[in-house]
């Protein structure tokens, strides 16, 4: 049953990524040239609503659908890993025009070359696992 819920949420996410054009290389390029409000509107409105949702959950102690407390995991404090890692991610995001969510969406939409990007990103993740001890965190 839970698996079906996850699948349903994923399908909703995939349709949204495709129809919002957040999965389009062109929209990412346009965003980084500041030539349209579209992507900023999407990310901005998501975050504003997200903050309201999270604050409401915390304030009213809203429980999950299964009656369990909802926990928000605090991210480890650091600057270098987020700045360097984020910068590298940004380079790839602009070049491939896809972040990890939309990558899966584009496979379903029938763009087979995205599989090269996915293979590359799995390999990049593997590479990070191999050398992470040598990187500043």
């Amino acid at each position: 049953m839970r698996t079906i819920i996850y699948l349903f949420i994923g399908i909703l996410f995939g349709i949204t990524m495709f129809k919002s054009e957040a999965a389009s290389w062109f929209r990412i390029y346009e965003m980084f040239r500041f030539e349209a409000f579209h992507m900023y509107g999407i990310i901005g409105s998501t975050v504003v609503l997200g903050i309201l949702i999270v604050q409401a959950i915390k304030r009213f102690n809203i429980l999950s659908f299964y009656g369990e407390p909802i926990v928000f995991l605090p991210k480890a404090k650091s600057v270098s890993r987020y700045l360097f890692g984020g910068f590298i991610f940004g380079l790839g995001w602009a070049l491939a025009g896809a972040c990890p969510g939309p990558m899966f969406t584009l496979v379903g939409a029938g763009f087979s070359p995205i599989l090269v990007v996915i293979l590359g990103s799995v390999f990049g993740t593997f590479l990070y696992g191999l050398i992470k001890e040598k990187l500043p965190h």
């Binding site: 699948l7 062109f26 949702i53 987020y82 939409a109 087979s112 090269v116 590359g120």
Partner: protein, 185 residues
């Protein structure tokens, strides 16, 4: 209902993503798609190469199911919910892309110069996609998350690390588009 078949404006798309964030929280999960890349490494046996991949991938199965759904959603979006796949980006962006050699700007969903199946016989194109993916995968794990984990989940929970990561995402993206693109395209 015709609006469904047009590209969704930001004020529909943003609230939809917020709804997805809400639904995931309500089933006790945190939104973060790049974790799936780590799980895929584990499933391929990367645990023998690094402790980083020694995790119980079954505990991450839910997220793989979300990713599978994201793929099915892409299929539904492209096959049943779209009349015209052209992305109406700004005319200035189109003009700029034309000068870089992206002739499909404004007429397709993805640039044919990178995402047409003919790319498989073009070593340079395959390399660009592979390197783009590699940077995304490496950077996401180094930063501990991607657009969903940091820009959406992290900022929604008001976490400073996520703001730093998002600043990094933009610094990297701007560098690529404004300084590196003129060198490679």
């Amino acid at each position: 209902m015709t609006f469904l078949f047009d590209p969704w404006p930001w004020y529909i798309s943003g609230p939809m993503i917020a709804l997805i964030l809400f639904l995931l929280l309500m089933v006790g999960k945190n939104f973060g798609m790049s974790s799936n890349l780590r799980t895929l490494c584990t499933m391929c046996g990367a645990g023998s190469a690094s402790d980083f991949f020694r995790l119980d991938w079954k505990s991450q199965q839910w997220n793989l199911v979300v990713a599978l759904g994201a793929g099915i959603g892409g299929f539904i979006g492209a096959q049943f919910l779209s009349h015209d796949l052209a992305v109406a980006i700004h005319p200035d962006t189109i003009a700029n892309l034309n000068t870089l050699g992206f002739k499909s700007a404004g007429t397709s969903y993805l640039p044919t110069a990178l995402y047409d199946t003919s790319i498989f016989t073009d070593i340079r194109g395959v390399l660009i996609l592979a390197i783009g993916g590699l940077l995304v995968g490496f950077g996401a794990r180094y930063a501990g998350g991607c657009t969903s984990g940091h820009a959406i989940s992290g900022l929604s929970t008001l976490q400073w690390p996520s703001l730093i990561a998002v600043i990094g995402f933009f610094a990297g993206g701007l560098t690529m588009v404004h300084f590196i693109f003129p060198l490679i395209f």
